[in-house]
Amino acid sequence: MVHLTGEEKSAVTALWGKVNVEEVGGEALGRLLVVYPWTQRFFESFGDLSTADAVMKNANVKKHGKKVLASFSEGLKHLDDLKGTFAALSELHCDKLHVDPENFRLLGNVLVVVLAENLKNEFTPELQSAYQKVAPGVANALAHNYH
């Protein structure tokens, strides 16, 4: 369970309202694949990932990034029950996709960097701190049903 104060929860939600979920999702997934190239192992069917430019412009990356961030958005509405919210996705990532949960933590941190890039001065240390609790919460929830 993620322990955020009432104030942190409001701040997280308020900030999320300003996020272009579609774009940020693609940006975060793209940067994950560029900065941590071994993560490309899960996306061999996505086409050209050979350069940073190719990755960031790849339509499949953008589409999948949007999907991933939409799930994250959903999680933000259920901070008191992330494990329940992500139970089915956890099973999917373990049983069908075989993704090492460490990758969820990496993506969480890349997302924080992208938020900083997009929100600049609004991404205060206090807000970063709140998101640094939310991101691992989501990552842990996704790892929870692994066996």
């Binding site: 900065v35 941190n109 960097v113 900083a116 600049k120 991404f123 240390p125 970063q128």
Partner: protein, 142 residues
């Protein structure tokens, strides 16, 4: 992850651009680290960690100077950073995982100040460079 020629060029170019402001960013990175990852404060019981603290700023400048030293010695980080390794690994005994947290917050800080310029490939090069710095500070590195 090998620090290739393109990575070195990117890191050196970034450092030239940051100029004398490196300390400003490393200080902000430290402040963010203490805020987001409170366990890191356990290594700084001797410092005033309140917002705007001059002591944190001074430590930020030390970190900046060390990173600048690293940028100037990309061909031999372990040797250039040997005194700092001795200090952090053997005297201060900092869990190396903590350096990752500071690196993350430094990336966040630079992304915040340079949106648009902070491209994915720059982030990748910077991440590789900082990973090499962390390795050079680890106790088992010779």
């Amino acid at each position: 992850m090998v620090l290739g020629a393109a990575d070195r060029t990117a890191v050196r170019a970034l450092w030239l651009k940051l100029g004398s402001n490196v300390g400003v960013y490393t200080t902000e990175a430290l402040e963010r680290t203490f805020q987001a990852f409170p366990s890191t404060k356990t290594y700084f019981l001797h410092l005033d960690l309140s917002p705007g603290s001059a002591q944190v700023r001074a430590h930020g400048q030390k970190v900046a100077d060390a990173l600048t030293l690293a940028v100037d010695h990309l061909d031999d980080l372990p040797s250039a950073l040997s005194a700092l390794r001795e200090l952090h690994a053997h005297k201060l005994r900092v869990d190396p995982v903590k350096f990752q947290l500071l690196v993350h917050c430094l990336l966040v800080t630079l992304a915040r100040h340079y949106p648009g310029d902070f491209s994915p490939s720059l982030q990748a090069s910077l991440n590789k460079f900082l990973s090499h710095v962390i390795s050079a500070l680890a106790p088992n590195c010779h």
